[in-house]
Symmetry: D2
Subunit: 126 residues, 4 copies
Amino acid sequence: MSERETEPADPTLESLRRRLTEFAAARSWEPFHTPKNLAAALTVEAGELLEIFQWLTPEQAAAVMSEPDLAYRVRDEVADVLAYLLQFCTAVGVDPLTALAAKIERNELRFPAPGAGKRPGAGAGG
Amino acid sequence: MSERETEPADPTLESLRRRLTEFAAARSWEPFHTPKNLAAALTVEAGELLEIFQWLTPEQAAAVMSEPDLAYRVRDEVADVLAYLLQFCTAVGVDPLTALAAKIERNELRFPAPGAGKRPGAGAGG
Amino acid sequence: MSERETEPADPTLESLRRRLTEFAAARSWEPFHTPKNLAAALTVEAGELLEIFQWLTPEQAAAVMSEPDLAYRVRDEVADVLAYLLQFCTAVGVDPLTALAAKIERNELRFPAPGAGKRPGAGAGG
Amino acid sequence: MSERETEPADPTLESLRRRLTEFAAARSWEPFHTPKNLAAALTVEAGELLEIFQWLTPEQAAAVMSEPDLAYRVRDEVADVLAYLLQFCTAVGVDPLTALAAKIERNELRFPAPGAGKRPGAGAGG
């Protein structure tokens, strides 16, 4: 059975996180996957995603996915950023979905949606 | 009904992605959420995560989650990175889970696991 | 005699580089100033400079120095980026001016200026 | 007369800054060289410098300049970071040396050197 077949048709963040952990373990890469190294690698990959856009006009940037080469690079860098973010989360024991849900809660208090008070139930996340 | 109550106990990446889209729409932030701006913001937030670790020794970095203040900052920056990554994906129409699954496939071909050929059926990275 | 008085009216890159080295030595910061840590700090500070601009329109970005608070932040982040770049160069023994002069030479070959062949003697970029 | 011959044997930061301005002008690159784009490019290049170090142990990082290929990459990325920093400074009208001198002054007040008060004239920058 190939690695491909073990992956469900609809991967979840958690199934991909586990797969990345197994991938690194099979290659004995764990010693390199310290929180500090992974935070550095995450920043490097985010920079590579930004590099695609750095000289583009807003119009060119909005059309980036209609250029097959650029679209491939965008997907590739999105994958790298997410991979290092998940591996970082594994290294420090943080659940990224819980962390993000908590942050959204805090942001809803910090940046109240206009009219949220007047229209109960019709707010930002409602 | 508050925003809080509409969020399931176990958020998924997709439910959080939608919630972020609604959050931005309720505050009329979409004009700022261009792919280029979001790629810049993602890089900035990744840098803020790295900042926590930049002067730490490997030992200090490994213990970062046992310091409540640092642990809070780590979770907060993880949330920010994931938030901007999801908003970027919304802006360009990329599914981050599909992109990451495809990248893992490519990496399994590019970096064969030692002994992978000898132990069929051992699964991803196994 | 204060530190201020020892600095010439027109500081050079080299005088500032030495001053940063003495500053770090006087505070026993050298153990933290490894090439890797300084490269990370440089990236973090570059991100902080980018943060000032991330949501600005081109018009707002062009006018950033007319806002005293933003102008102060820009100068402050430029200083931080340059400081970490110089400290990095000290740590690895690279002369940044020589490195840049060599890079410009390479770029002049790589990206010939339009009409450069037709107008000999027109100087750098001509 | 070639571009090479117009550069003095010992380039200064200011002579290189001017040369970069002429280089961009000769290629009609100024429209791309907005403060925002240049801050993004600076961050991308800083990330490329960090990339060289991201998986290295402290020992490997300390020896990076003894590997000719890595040493070349380090000098090349230092040059790119400095080039974009100078072009950014041109775009916003900031003198990087003055900005750094002012920052060092502020840091000397913010982080007093141990014993600086006891040994007048022997302080951090003294």
